[in-house]
Point group: C2
Chain length 169, copies 2
Protein backbone atom coordinates (compact mmCIF):
# COMPACT_ATOMS: atom_id res chain seq x y z
CA UNK A 1 0.00 0.00 0.00
CA UNK A 2 2.75 2.42 0.97
CA UNK A 3 4.63 1.51 -2.21
CA UNK A 4 1.55 2.13 -4.36
CA UNK A 5 1.07 5.53 -2.76
CA UNK A 6 4.68 6.40 -3.41
CA UNK A 7 4.40 5.30 -7.05
CA UNK A 8 1.23 7.33 -7.51
CA UNK A 9 2.90 10.38 -6.02
CA UNK A 10 5.85 9.89 -8.38
CA UNK A 11 3.50 9.50 -11.36
CA UNK A 12 1.69 12.70 -10.38
CA UNK A 13 4.99 14.54 -10.03
CA UNK A 14 6.16 13.37 -13.47
CA UNK A 15 2.80 14.30 -14.95
CA UNK A 16 2.98 17.77 -13.42
CA UNK A 17 6.53 18.22 -14.70
CA UNK A 18 5.50 17.14 -18.21
CA UNK A 19 2.55 19.55 -18.22
CA UNK A 20 4.74 22.40 -17.00
CA UNK A 21 7.37 21.62 -19.62
CA UNK A 22 4.82 21.27 -22.42
CA UNK A 23 3.41 24.62 -21.31
CA UNK A 24 6.62 26.37 -22.31
CA UNK A 25 8.43 26.21 -18.99
CA UNK A 26 12.05 25.18 -18.91
CA UNK A 27 12.77 21.56 -18.00
CA UNK A 28 14.12 21.10 -14.48
CA UNK A 29 17.73 20.21 -13.72
CA UNK A 30 18.41 16.48 -13.06
CA UNK A 31 18.48 17.30 -9.33
CA UNK A 32 14.96 18.76 -9.53
CA UNK A 33 15.95 22.42 -9.35
CA UNK A 34 14.05 24.84 -11.57
CA UNK A 35 14.87 28.29 -12.93
CA UNK A 36 13.42 31.03 -10.69
CA UNK A 37 10.91 33.09 -12.64
CA UNK A 38 12.06 36.61 -13.46
CA UNK A 39 15.66 36.03 -12.37
CA UNK A 40 16.87 38.03 -15.39
CA UNK A 41 15.56 41.16 -13.67
CA UNK A 42 17.26 40.54 -10.32
CA UNK A 43 19.76 43.14 -9.06
CA UNK A 44 23.49 42.73 -9.61
CA UNK A 45 25.80 41.16 -7.04
CA UNK A 46 28.92 41.45 -9.21
CA UNK A 47 30.45 40.92 -12.66
CA UNK A 48 33.54 39.07 -13.90
CA UNK A 49 35.63 38.42 -16.96
CA UNK A 50 37.27 35.02 -17.21
CA UNK A 51 40.24 35.58 -19.48
CA UNK A 52 41.06 31.85 -19.44
CA UNK A 53 37.89 30.77 -21.21
CA UNK A 54 36.95 34.11 -22.77
CA UNK A 55 33.63 34.65 -21.05
CA UNK A 56 31.93 37.59 -19.38
CA UNK A 57 29.63 37.03 -16.45
CA UNK A 58 27.09 38.81 -14.35
CA UNK A 59 26.05 37.46 -10.97
CA UNK A 60 22.51 38.38 -9.89
CA UNK A 61 20.72 37.73 -6.63
CA UNK A 62 17.18 37.32 -5.31
CA UNK A 63 15.96 39.71 -2.58
CA UNK A 64 17.50 37.67 0.24
CA UNK A 65 20.86 37.43 -1.54
CA UNK A 66 20.98 41.12 -2.46
CA UNK A 67 20.11 42.23 1.07
CA UNK A 68 22.88 39.99 2.41
CA UNK A 69 25.36 41.19 -0.22
CA UNK A 70 24.74 44.91 0.29
CA UNK A 71 24.75 44.50 4.07
CA UNK A 72 27.97 42.47 4.15
CA UNK A 73 26.21 39.46 5.68
CA UNK A 74 27.52 36.69 3.42
CA UNK A 75 29.57 34.65 5.89
CA UNK A 76 27.61 32.47 5.58
CA UNK A 77 24.97 33.47 3.03
CA UNK A 78 21.48 33.22 4.58
CA UNK A 79 19.07 30.39 3.84
CA UNK A 80 16.84 31.37 0.95
CA UNK A 81 19.57 33.25 -0.90
CA UNK A 82 19.71 32.41 -4.59
CA UNK A 83 22.59 33.44 -6.85
CA UNK A 84 22.20 33.41 -10.63
CA UNK A 85 25.17 33.62 -12.99
CA UNK A 86 24.67 34.50 -16.65
CA UNK A 87 27.67 33.64 -18.86
CA UNK A 88 28.39 34.97 -22.35
CA UNK A 89 31.21 34.41 -24.82
CA UNK A 90 33.30 37.57 -25.15
CA UNK A 91 33.73 39.77 -28.20
CA UNK A 92 35.43 43.11 -28.75
CA UNK A 93 33.02 46.04 -29.12
CA UNK A 94 33.37 47.22 -32.73
CA UNK A 95 33.19 50.89 -31.89
CA UNK A 96 35.71 50.58 -29.02
CA UNK A 97 37.79 47.42 -29.54
CA UNK A 98 39.46 47.66 -26.12
CA UNK A 99 36.06 47.08 -24.55
CA UNK A 100 35.20 43.39 -24.21
CA UNK A 101 31.44 42.83 -24.29
CA UNK A 102 28.98 39.90 -24.32
CA UNK A 103 28.41 37.81 -27.43
CA UNK A 104 26.39 34.57 -27.39
CA UNK A 105 24.77 33.28 -24.22
CA UNK A 106 26.72 30.23 -23.01
CA UNK A 107 24.75 29.13 -19.96
CA UNK A 108 22.98 30.21 -16.80
CA UNK A 109 23.84 28.74 -13.41
CA UNK A 110 22.18 28.89 -10.00
CA UNK A 111 23.15 28.32 -6.41
CA UNK A 112 20.30 27.98 -3.86
CA UNK A 113 21.28 28.25 -0.21
CA UNK A 114 19.44 25.99 2.22
CA UNK A 115 21.79 24.58 4.84
CA UNK A 116 19.37 21.82 5.91
CA UNK A 117 17.88 20.88 2.55
CA UNK A 118 21.27 20.69 0.82
CA UNK A 119 23.31 19.28 3.71
CA UNK A 120 23.62 16.03 1.79
CA UNK A 121 26.11 17.31 -0.78
CA UNK A 122 28.31 18.81 1.93
CA UNK A 123 27.88 22.45 0.88
CA UNK A 124 24.44 23.61 2.01
CA UNK A 125 23.80 24.84 -1.54
CA UNK A 126 21.81 23.36 -4.42
CA UNK A 127 23.56 23.70 -7.78
CA UNK A 128 22.22 23.70 -11.35
CA UNK A 129 23.08 24.82 -14.88
CA UNK A 130 21.09 25.29 -18.09
CA UNK A 131 22.82 25.53 -21.47
CA UNK A 132 22.37 28.10 -24.22
CA UNK A 133 19.40 30.30 -25.11
CA UNK A 134 17.27 27.13 -25.29
CA UNK A 135 18.08 26.49 -21.60
CA UNK A 136 18.80 22.79 -21.88
CA UNK A 137 19.29 21.24 -18.42
CA UNK A 138 22.92 20.25 -17.88
CA UNK A 139 23.96 16.80 -16.66
CA UNK A 140 22.56 13.28 -16.82
CA UNK A 141 21.63 12.82 -13.18
CA UNK A 142 21.88 14.32 -9.70
CA UNK A 143 25.65 13.70 -9.61
CA UNK A 144 26.05 16.76 -11.87
CA UNK A 145 26.29 18.80 -8.65
CA UNK A 146 29.69 17.26 -7.96
CA UNK A 147 31.09 18.97 -11.04
CA UNK A 148 29.95 22.37 -9.74
CA UNK A 149 31.21 21.65 -6.25
CA UNK A 150 34.64 20.39 -7.38
CA UNK A 151 35.25 23.71 -9.09
CA UNK A 152 34.21 25.66 -5.97
CA UNK A 153 36.48 23.81 -3.51
CA UNK A 154 39.02 26.71 -3.51
CA UNK A 155 36.32 28.92 -1.95
CA UNK A 156 34.93 26.43 0.57
CA UNK A 157 35.93 28.90 3.30
CA UNK A 158 33.81 31.60 1.64
CA UNK A 159 30.69 29.47 1.97
CA UNK A 160 31.50 27.98 -1.46
CA UNK A 161 30.90 31.27 -3.31
CA UNK A 162 33.53 32.87 -5.56
CA UNK A 163 31.67 36.14 -5.86
CA UNK A 164 32.62 38.87 -3.44
CA UNK A 165 29.80 41.42 -3.81
CA UNK A 166 30.82 44.48 -5.81
CA UNK A 167 30.70 47.80 -4.00
CA UNK A 168 27.75 49.95 -4.95
CA UNK A 169 27.41 53.58 -3.84
CA UNK B 1 10.74 92.98 -11.26
CA UNK B 2 11.30 90.09 -13.62
CA UNK B 3 14.93 89.97 -12.57
CA UNK B 4 13.94 89.92 -8.89
CA UNK B 5 11.54 87.07 -9.55
CA UNK B 6 14.24 85.11 -11.35
CA UNK B 7 16.70 85.72 -8.53
CA UNK B 8 14.12 84.61 -5.96
CA UNK B 9 13.44 81.46 -7.96
CA UNK B 10 17.18 80.78 -8.15
CA UNK B 11 17.54 81.37 -4.41
CA UNK B 12 14.70 78.95 -3.71
CA UNK B 13 16.25 76.35 -5.99
CA UNK B 14 19.62 76.66 -4.27
CA UNK B 15 17.95 76.49 -0.89
CA UNK B 16 16.04 73.36 -1.89
CA UNK B 17 19.24 71.78 -3.24
CA UNK B 18 21.11 72.60 -0.01
CA UNK B 19 18.35 71.12 2.11
CA UNK B 20 18.25 67.99 -0.03
CA UNK B 21 22.02 67.67 0.12
CA UNK B 22 22.17 68.30 3.84
CA UNK B 23 19.51 65.63 4.24
CA UNK B 24 21.88 62.98 2.96
CA UNK B 25 20.96 63.12 -0.72
CA UNK B 26 23.65 63.30 -3.33
CA UNK B 27 24.40 66.70 -4.83
CA UNK B 28 23.07 67.18 -8.36
CA UNK B 29 25.28 67.25 -11.44
CA UNK B 30 26.20 70.74 -12.74
CA UNK B 31 23.52 70.30 -15.43
CA UNK B 32 20.87 69.71 -12.75
CA UNK B 33 20.55 65.96 -13.22
CA UNK B 34 20.16 63.86 -10.08
CA UNK B 35 20.82 60.20 -9.32
CA UNK B 36 17.64 58.12 -9.72
CA UNK B 37 16.70 56.55 -6.39
CA UNK B 38 17.22 52.79 -6.25
CA UNK B 39 19.15 52.59 -9.54
CA UNK B 40 21.55 50.08 -7.94
CA UNK B 41 18.73 47.54 -8.01
CA UNK B 42 17.80 48.05 -11.68
CA UNK B 43 18.05 45.06 -14.03
CA UNK B 44 21.11 44.49 -16.20
CA UNK B 45 21.36 45.72 -19.79
CA UNK B 46 24.93 44.47 -20.30
CA UNK B 47 28.46 44.29 -18.86
CA UNK B 48 31.87 45.22 -20.22
CA UNK B 49 35.57 45.05 -19.45
CA UNK B 50 37.70 47.93 -20.70
CA UNK B 51 41.16 46.45 -21.00
CA UNK B 52 42.59 49.86 -21.96
CA UNK B 53 41.85 51.50 -18.62
CA UNK B 54 41.44 48.34 -16.52
CA UNK B 55 37.85 48.79 -15.47
CA UNK B 56 34.83 46.52 -15.26
CA UNK B 57 31.36 47.91 -15.91
CA UNK B 58 27.76 46.98 -15.54
CA UNK B 59 25.07 48.86 -17.44
CA UNK B 60 21.67 48.92 -15.74
CA UNK B 61 18.36 50.28 -16.98
CA UNK B 62 15.11 51.65 -15.58
CA UNK B 63 11.84 49.91 -16.52
CA UNK B 64 11.49 51.77 -19.82
CA UNK B 65 15.10 51.03 -20.81
CA UNK B 66 14.91 47.35 -19.86
CA UNK B 67 11.65 46.83 -21.74
CA UNK B 68 13.20 48.45 -24.82
CA UNK B 69 16.42 46.45 -24.47
CA UNK B 70 14.75 43.07 -24.03
CA UNK B 71 12.31 43.81 -26.86
CA UNK B 72 14.97 45.01 -29.30
CA UNK B 73 13.44 48.50 -29.50
CA UNK B 74 16.55 50.63 -29.02
CA UNK B 75 16.79 52.34 -32.41
CA UNK B 76 16.16 54.89 -31.06
CA UNK B 77 15.82 54.31 -27.32
CA UNK B 78 12.41 55.54 -26.10
CA UNK B 79 11.91 58.78 -24.20
CA UNK B 80 12.05 58.09 -20.48
CA UNK B 81 14.77 55.45 -20.82
CA UNK B 82 17.57 55.86 -18.29
CA UNK B 83 20.84 53.95 -18.49
CA UNK B 84 23.15 53.71 -15.48
CA UNK B 85 26.75 52.59 -15.73
CA UNK B 86 28.67 51.50 -12.64
CA UNK B 87 32.45 51.41 -13.13
CA UNK B 88 35.00 49.61 -10.94
CA UNK B 89 38.77 49.24 -11.12
CA UNK B 90 39.68 45.65 -11.98
CA UNK B 91 41.55 43.13 -9.83
CA UNK B 92 42.29 39.43 -10.26
CA UNK B 93 40.15 37.16 -8.08
CA UNK B 94 42.57 35.59 -5.57
CA UNK B 95 40.99 32.16 -5.72
CA UNK B 96 40.87 32.14 -9.54
CA UNK B 97 43.43 34.64 -10.87
CA UNK B 98 42.22 34.32 -14.47
CA UNK B 99 38.94 35.85 -13.37
CA UNK B 100 39.00 39.65 -13.39
CA UNK B 101 36.57 41.09 -10.86
CA UNK B 102 35.56 44.51 -9.45
CA UNK B 103 37.77 46.36 -6.99
CA UNK B 104 37.13 49.99 -5.97
CA UNK B 105 34.16 51.92 -7.29
CA UNK B 106 35.42 54.53 -9.79
CA UNK B 107 32.24 56.34 -10.79
CA UNK B 108 28.60 56.02 -11.82
CA UNK B 109 27.27 57.57 -15.01
CA UNK B 110 23.78 58.15 -16.35
CA UNK B 111 22.15 58.84 -19.70
CA UNK B 112 18.54 60.08 -19.63
CA UNK B 113 16.68 59.93 -22.95
CA UNK B 114 14.31 62.77 -23.69
CA UNK B 115 14.49 63.84 -27.32
CA UNK B 116 12.76 67.18 -26.72
CA UNK B 117 14.23 68.12 -23.33
CA UNK B 118 17.80 67.33 -24.40
CA UNK B 119 17.59 68.47 -28.02
CA UNK B 120 19.89 71.38 -27.15
CA UNK B 121 23.06 69.30 -26.82
CA UNK B 122 22.40 67.57 -30.14
CA UNK B 123 21.93 64.05 -28.75
CA UNK B 124 18.49 63.84 -27.15
CA UNK B 125 20.16 62.49 -24.00
CA UNK B 126 21.07 64.11 -20.70
CA UNK B 127 24.49 63.03 -19.39
CA UNK B 128 25.97 63.02 -15.89
CA UNK B 129 28.66 61.38 -13.77
CA UNK B 130 29.35 61.11 -10.04
CA UNK B 131 32.80 60.15 -8.73
CA UNK B 132 33.72 57.49 -6.18
CA UNK B 133 31.74 56.01 -3.30
CA UNK B 134 31.13 59.56 -2.04
CA UNK B 135 29.33 60.35 -5.34
CA UNK B 136 30.92 63.72 -5.96
CA UNK B 137 29.30 65.43 -8.96
CA UNK B 138 31.69 65.57 -11.91
CA UNK B 139 32.41 68.76 -13.82
CA UNK B 140 32.41 72.48 -13.09
CA UNK B 141 29.41 73.50 -15.17
CA UNK B 142 26.87 72.34 -17.72
CA UNK B 143 29.58 72.04 -20.40
CA UNK B 144 30.63 68.78 -18.73
CA UNK B 145 28.14 67.04 -21.06
CA UNK B 146 30.42 67.78 -24.02
CA UNK B 147 33.06 65.51 -22.55
CA UNK B 148 30.58 62.62 -22.40
CA UNK B 149 29.27 63.34 -25.87
CA UNK B 150 32.72 63.62 -27.49
CA UNK B 151 33.51 60.11 -26.34
CA UNK B 152 30.20 58.77 -27.72
CA UNK B 153 30.56 60.25 -31.23
CA UNK B 154 31.62 56.85 -32.68
CA UNK B 155 28.17 55.50 -31.78
CA UNK B 156 26.08 58.48 -32.92
CA UNK B 157 24.33 56.12 -35.35
CA UNK B 158 23.34 53.85 -32.44
CA UNK B 159 21.46 56.69 -30.78
CA UNK B 160 24.72 57.62 -28.97
CA UNK B 161 24.75 54.41 -26.90
CA UNK B 162 27.73 52.01 -26.89
CA UNK B 163 25.85 49.27 -25.09
CA UNK B 164 24.21 46.64 -27.26
CA UNK B 165 21.90 44.82 -24.82
CA UNK B 166 23.23 41.42 -23.76
CA UNK B 167 21.12 38.40 -24.68
CA UNK B 168 19.19 36.96 -21.79
CA UNK B 169 17.33 33.63 -22.02
Amino acid sequence: MKRTARLSALALLLLAASIAWAGGMTAPSPNGMTIPEGFENWPVISVSHRVDNHTLRVILGNDIAVEAARGGKTDPWPDGAVLAKVVWKERPEEAWPDAIVPDKLVHVEFMHKDAAKYAGNGTGWGWARWLGPELKPYGADVSVENECIDCHVPVEERDWVYTIPARFP
